[in-house]
C-alpha cells in the first residue's frame, strides 16, 4: 500500500475542467467530471471501505466492499467504478451495506492466516483495517475448509517476498505491473478458488520478466508482497520526502525511517516527475549508503604509492589548500581546476564553481555533462536559445508520434519509459532509431511502426535524409516556420537538405536503413499529429553529437513540433542532477545560467557579488585538462563525485594524465578508480545525507532532504566551503538554502526559486521568475527563447574512427536497468544479482566467424587498447556491431574507447569505436595491470582506519 504518511483516495484523479457537484452522506462535494464516487467521498473525508481499489490504478470493481446506495440507481453500485453525476445523492453507510460488507470480509478471512500480531503488515494492512471497519467478530464458515494457508513463499527476489498464503487475489499487483510499469509480468492464473497470482508462467519472480520496480509491492494491500527491509525492521515511525539520486527522471520518494535508519523508500504518490512509480534502483538499491566500503574519515598521502593516512579535517583541508597554492605559485594560475558531477546537488555544484572562479582565479571547472549531454547544451542553445529540453514528462501523454533516437528509456529512464509505454498502449505511434533492437521496439502491446536500425556513427546522415523527405514532399509547416523562425537560415537549410545526396535513397548506403523506412518515418513524424522526439547519448556521444542535436531541432521546427504540449525536443538527461550541474555554471566557458564568461555585464554581476575579479577567458574542459596535465601545465585537481578514471574514454590516457598531476583531491563515498590516483581523500555524503536540490531532465528542481547526518561529519557543501576558506576565498554559508538564494539573485532563470517556494509548489521547472512565477512546464510557447528559431546546416561528416581489416567491427556502449553509470552505488547492492559483469553482445554471424559461443571470453581490441569480456550472442545487435555496458571497472570498457569527440564540445565518441573481437583464454594485459594496481591501492587503504561501520 501507499506510504504510512499517505492517504489512498481510491481511484485516480481526473483532470478535466468540467466540474460536477453531488451529495455524499448529506455533504456537498464538487469534483472534476469522471471522478469516481469513491474518490469524491474520500476528498470530503468520507471513507468508503475498499480492498481492490487504490488511487494509483484504474478501478476494478472486484472486492465488492465499496458498494453504496445511490438514489435512483438499482441495487448497490460499486463506488469505485461509478462516476459522479450532477445532483447524485449517495449514502455510504446503512444496515444493508454493513451486512454486505461484513459478509465480504467473512469470506476473505475464512481463507487467511490469523497471525496479525507477527505479520509484517501489522499496523499498516488494509485487510486488517477493513476487518476493523466492518466490525467483523466471527467467521461463520469456520476454518476447517480447504484453504491456501500452506502456499509456499517466493523469496527469490532480493528485495521483496511474495507470500501467497496471505493473498486476497484483488489483482492490484497484476494491474500495477500492467498499468503503472507496463511489463505485464504478472497474471491471475486459474479461476474460482484456484485463482492465484503468477509471475510469468508460474515461475519465481526472479526467473520471470519482473523488473523489480516494486509497483506490485506498493499496490499490495496485505503482507503478500512485502519489502524484506520492512519484514526485518518493522514499521517506520516518520518519513521525509526526498529525490532519488540515480537517473534523470528524478523520482520523488518518501524515505520511511526509524530514527536515522531507512526502513524503505516509497515513491511519493504526488511526485511530479514519477506520480508514485519507481524502478528497482531508486526504490530498493540504497544499501550502498551504509556499505562497509564507505570511507568516513579524511586521508592524505604524498605519493600514490604511499599508504593512506587518516588525518583530521583540519589537516586534510590544510594540506589540500597548501598544495593547491604551491602548485599555482609554481606552475601558474591556470594549473589547477575542479570537476563536479551530477551526484552533487545544485548548491554543492554552485559552491565548487565559485571556489574555482573566485578562489582559484580561473575558469578550469567542468562537470560530468562533458561526457554525456554537453552537445545538447550547445545544439539547443544555438537553435532554440536554451540549453535544456522543451517539455515536461507528462507532455508525452499528448503525443501522437513518439520518435526515440539513440536512447533506451526502459533501461535508462525506466519510470518515464513506463509513462511513455502507457501512451503507446493508448495508440500513439512509435519510431525508434537505434543500431540495436532495444526493448521498446517490441514490448507487451507495443510495436514500433519503424525501427531505423542505422549503423553507429551515421546519425546525421539519417536526420538529413528524414529532413530531405519532409522538405521535398511538401511536409514543412510553412506557416509555423514563417512566423517563428529566421527565414534566411531556414532557406539555407532547406536548400541543403533538398540536395539529392541527402535523399534516403542515396543515404541508404551510408546508414544501412532502407529508404522506404526513412520515408515512412519522416511522413509519420511530420503528419501523424503531435510529434515528440526523445533522445539520449546515442545522439550526443558522437563526433557529430552537437550537429545531430541541431539536426533534431531543425526537424522539430520544420514540422511545427515545438511550443505546446505533446511535442518538443526532449533530451533524456541521464543523471539525477546533470541538468542542475550545467545550470549552475560548472562549465569552463559559462557562468550559472549559461552566460559566457566573456560577457562583461554578467561577469561584473558576479564580480560584484563575490568581491573579486574574475577571469574572462574560457578555461579547460575535462579532456583538455588531461592534455594539459600530460603537457606539464595542469597539476592540481579537486574532484567531487565524478570518477573520471572509469567513466572517461581511453582509460590509459586518463590514468597517465592523473599520474602526471601533483595533487588530486577526491571527495567521494568510496575509494573509486580516480581515488586510486589521489593524494587527498575527503569523505562525501550520499543523497540520504544531503540537504539541497536536484534538477531532473524536465528542468524540474526538487528538494533532496537529509534523513541522516553526514557520516563524515560535514555536508559536501561545507567541505567545499572549508577548502575555499583555506585557499583564501571566504565563504560563510550556514545553510544550503542561502546558497540557492544567492543563485536566485544572480541568475535570471532562477529568480523565483527558493527552498520555501519549492516546498510550496512541490517542485519548480525553471525558468521561474516574474514572467513565470510558478515555473515553466513547456518552453518556447509563442516565441523561442532566442526570439526566432535558427536552422543550422548539418552536413554529414563521417567519423575519423574507421573500420578496416584490422578492426572490422563497431563497438557501441549503453546501460542497463539494474546498474547505474559506473556502478559505484549499484555494485554495492543486491542489484548485482541481475547483472554482475559487463558482457559483450555480439551477433551470431560475427560470433560464428570467430568461433565464439555464449559465455566465452572474448578479447576486444581497438586502436586505444584492449580488454576481455564474456560474450552474449544475440540478434539484438546487427552484424558488424558489438555492444557492451561500462558498469564494472574491471571490464575496462573505456580502455577501448578513443579520444574522438564531438567537434563542438569534446563530448567523447563512446558510441563508435572500431574493434576486433577474438576468442581468448586469459584476461588482457591491461586487466592484469588493473588488478595488480587495484589490489595494491586497496592494501594502501587498509592501514588507515577510515571505513564506515554500521551500528
Amino acid at each position: 500500500m501507499l506510504s504510512i504518511a499517505e492517504t489512498d483516495l481510491g481511484t485516480p484523479a481526473r483532470t478535466g475542467t468540467e466540474l460536477v457537484t453531488l451529495t455524499i452522506d448529506g455533504q456537498d462535494v464538487t469534483v472534476p467530471a469522471g471522478t469516481s464516487v469513491m474518490r469524491a467521498a474520500a476528498l470530503c473525508e468520507v471513507k468508503i471501505p475498499k480492498l481492490c481499489a487504490t488511487e494509483q490504478l484504474e478501478a476494478f470493481g472486484s472486492c465488492r466492499l465499496c458498494l453504496v446506495q445511490i438514489e435512483g440507481m438499482k441495487g448497490l453500485p460499486a463506488s469505485c467504478t461509478t462516476p459522479v453525476a450532477p445532483g447524485m445523492k449517495v449514502t455510504t453507510q446503512n444496515k444493508q451495506l454493513a451486512d454486505v460488507r461484513r459478509g465480504v470480509m467473512e469470506l476473505y478471512i475464512s481463507d487467511h492466516p490469523l497471525d496479525c500480531l507477527t505479520c509484517p503488515a501489522n499496523g499498516h494492512c488494509e485487510l486488517q483495517d477493513m476487518a476493523g471497519v466492518v466490525g467483523l467478530r466471527e467467521v461463520r464458515y469456520g476454518y476447517e475448509g480447504e484453504n491456501h494457508l500452506s502456499a509456499k513463499k517466493d523469496e527469490s527476489n532480493p528485495y521483496f517476498t511474495f507470500d501467497p498464503s496471505k493473498c486476497i487475489v484483488c489483482s492490484r499487483c497484476v494491474r500495477a505491473c500492467d498499468e503503472q510499469q507496463g511489463t505485464l509480468a504478472l497474471t491471475i492464473q486459474n479461476r474460482g478458488f484456484d485463482s492465484s497470482v503468477s509471475a510469468s508462467q508460474n515461475v519465481s519472480f526472479m526467473d520471470s520478466e519482473c523488473v523489480s520496480c516494486g509497483a506490485c509491492v506498493q499496490a499490495c494491500p496485505t503482507a503478500t508482497l512485502s519489502e524484506k527491509t520492512l519484514i526485518d525492521k518493522g514499521q517506520a515511525e516518520h518519513s521525509l520526502i526526498t529525490t532519488c539520486a540515480y537517473c534523470g527522471v528524478g523520482c520523488s520518494f518518501r524515505a520511511e525511517m526509524k530514527g536515522e535508519e531507512v526502513v524503505r523508500m516509497v515513491p511519493n504518490k504526488d511526485g511530479h516527475a514519477n506520480h508514485g512509480h519507481s524502478c528497482v534502483k531508486g526504490r530498493f538499491a540504497i544499501g550502498y549508503a551504509t556499505h562497509a566500503d564507505r570511507i568516513v574519515k579524511p586521508m592524505i598521502r604524498s605519493k600514490i604509492s604511499d599508504p593512506w593516512r587518516e588525518v583530521s579535517w583540519e589537516e586534510a583541508i590544510g594540506h589540500a589548500a597548501s598544495e593547491l597554492k604551491r602548485i599555482q605559485a609554481t606552475y601558474g594560475r591556470n594549473s589547477i581546476g575542479g570537476i563536479t558531477s551530477s551526484r552533487c546537488s545544485n548548491e554543492e555544484t554552485y559552491v565548487v564553481q565559485k571556489l574555482v572562479r573566485a578562489g582559484f582565479g580561473n575558469n578550469n571547472v567542468d562537470t560530468c555533462a562533458r561526457v554525456c549531454h554537453s552537445p545538447t547544451g550547445y545544439g539547443l542553445k544555438n537553435t532554440l536559445g536554451e540549453s535544456a529540453g522543451t517539455q515536461n514528462f507528462d507532455s508525452v501523454m499528448k503525443s501522437d508520434v513518439i520518435f526515440v533516437i539513440g536512447a533506451n528509456p526502459t533501461d535508462g529512464h525506466p519510470v518515464f519509459a513506463s509513462q511513455m509505454k502507457r501512451r503507446l498502449r493508448q495508440g500513439a505511434k512509435l519510431i525508434v532509431a537505434d543500431p540495436r533492437t532495444i526493448d521498446l521496439v517490441r514490448t507487451p502491446h507495443i510495436t514500433a511502426e519503424q525501427h531505423l536500425k542505422l549503423r553507429p556513427g551515421t546519425n546525421v546522415a539519417l536526420i538529413n535524409s528524414l529532413a530531405h523527405v519532409i522538405v521535398t514532399e511538401g511536409l514543412v509547416k510553412e506557416d509555423f516556420v514563417r512566423e517563428r523562425c529566421e527565414i534566411p537560415s531556414f532557406e539555407k537549410w532547406r536548400q541543403f537538405v533538398a540536395q539529392p545526396l541527402n535523399s534516403p535513397e542515396q543515404m541508404q548506403a551510408v546508414t544501412g536503413v532502407p529508404a522506404a523506412s526513412v520515408r515512412a518515418a519522416a511522413r509519420l513524424y511530420a503528419t501523424g499529429g503531435n510529434g515528440a522526439i526523445y533522445y539520449g547519448l546515442g545522439v550526443t556521444e558522437h563526433s557529430q553529437g552537437s550537429t545531430m542535436v541541431m539536426g533534431i531541432a531543425n526537424l522539430a521546427m520544420a514540422t511545427g513540433n515545438i511550443g505546446r504540449e505533446g511535442v518538443g525536443v526532449n533530451p533524456l538527461r541521464g543523471q539525477n542532477n546533470v541538468q542542475g550541474s550545467c545550470d549552475m555554471g560548472s562549465f569552463p566557458h559559462e557562468f550559472p545560467g549559461y552566460r559566457h564568461v566573456s560577457d562583461d555585464t554578467v561577469r561584473q554581476l558576479f564580480e560584484g557579488a563575490w568581491g573579486v575579479p574574475l577571469q574572462d577567458e574560457p578555461g579547460l574542459r575535462i579532456p583538455n585538462m588531461f592534455e594539459a596535465a600530460l603537457d606539464g601545465d595542469f597539476k592540481g585537481l579537486y574532484i567531487e563525485g565524478e570518477d573520471i578514471a572509469q567513466s572517461d574514454p581511453n582509460t590509459q590516457h586518463v590514468t597517465a594524465a592523473l599520474t602526471a598531476m601533483e595533487c588530486i583531491i577526491v571527495q567521494d563515498l568510496f575509494l573509486n578508480e580516480s581515488a586510486k590516483f589521489a593524494h587527498v581523500f575527503l569523505p562525501g555524503s550520499s543523497f540520504l545525507e544531503k540537504d539541497g536540490t536536484f534538477t531532473n531532465a524536465e528542468r524540474r528542481i526538487s528538494r533532496v532532504r537529509k534523513v541522516m547526518q553526514p557520516k563524515s561529519g560535514y555536508a559536501d557543501w561545507e567541505i567545499t566551503q572549508l577548502l575555499s576558506n583555506a585557499v583564501g576565498f571566504p565563504m560563510n554559508y550556514s545553510h544550503p538554502s542561502e546558497i540557492m538564494d544567492e543563485i536566485a539573485r544572480l541568475t535570471p532563470t532562477f529568480t523565483g526559486v527558493s527552498f520555501a517556494r519549492i516546498d510550496e509548489l512541490g517542485s519548480i521547472q525553471w525558468p521561474c521568475n516574474a514572467e513565470h512565477p510558478d515555473g515553466t512546464p513547456t518552453m518556447h510557447i509563442g516565441e523561442f527563447v532566442r526570439g526566432k528559431g535558427k536552422f543550422l546546416v548539418t552536413e554529414y561528416v563521417p567519423t575519423a574512427e574507421k573500420v578496416n581489416a584490422r578492426y572490422p567491427l563497431i563497438l557501441t556502449t549503453g546501460r542497463i536497468l539494474s546498474q547505474y553509470n559506473v556502478g559505484a552505488q549499484t555494485r554495492r547492492t543486491e542489484n548485482n544479482q541481475w547483472h554482475n559483469e559487463d558482457r559483450l553482445e555480439i551477433h551470431p554471424h560475427d560470433a560464428e566467424e570467430r568461433g565464439i559461443a555464449e559465455g566465452d571470453w572474448v578479447g576486444i581490441a581497438s586502436r586505444a587498447g584492449d580488454t576481455v569480456l564474456r560474450a552474449t550472442v544475440t540478434e539484438r545487435v546487427q552484424p558488424g556491431v558489438v555492444y557492451t555496458t561500462f558498469h564494472f571497472p574491471e571490464s575496462g570498457a573505456n580502455v577501448i574507447t578513443t579520444d574522438n569527440s564531438d567537434w563542438a564540445t569534446n563530448c567523447p565518441e563512446y558510441k563508435v569505436t572500431a574493434v576486433q573481437a577474438t576468442r581468448v583464454s586469459q584476461p588482457s594485459e591491461w586487466q592484469k595491470r588493473f588488478r595488480e594496481f587495484s589490489e595494491e591501492q586497496e592494501t594502501l587503504l587498509k592501514s588507515a582506519d577510515v571505513m564506515f561501520v554500521a551500528k
Partner: protein
C-alpha cells in the same frame, strides 16, 4: 599522438572547420570558426596551435580553420601588444 605536440589541437580545429564548411558563405564560415575557438578554447590552446603552425607550417590543418586562426591571431595581436 605524442604529448607536447599539438596534433590533437589540429584535429579539433579541423573538426570545427568541417562543421562550418557546410556554410555556403565563406566569410560566415570563417567567422563561425573564429567565434567558436575564441569562446571555447583557452588562450594556451590557441597559442599552442599557432606556435605549432608557425614552426611546422603544417598542411594537415585545413584551409578554413587555418584562415580562422590567422584572423584570430591578428585580432589578438593588438591586445598582446597593449599588455
Amino acid at each position: 599522438m605524442t604529448h607536447g605536440s599539438a596534433e590533437h589541437l589540429v584535429k579539433m580545429a579541423n573538426d570545427i572547420g568541417n562543421f562550418f564548411r557546410a556554410e555556403p558563405d565563406r566569410e560566415d564560415a570563417i567567422a563561425g570558426i573564429v567565434n567558436h575557438i575564441s569562446r571555447y578554447w583557452t588562450q594556451r590552446m590557441r597559442d599552442k596551435l599557432s606556435a605549432h603552425l608557425r614552426a611546422e607550417g603544417d598542411l594537415s590543418l585545413n584551409e578554413l580553420p587555418r584562415e580562422a586562426l590567422r584572423r584570430l591571431n591578428h585580432l589578438e595581436a593588438p591586445a598582446q601588444a597593449a599588455r
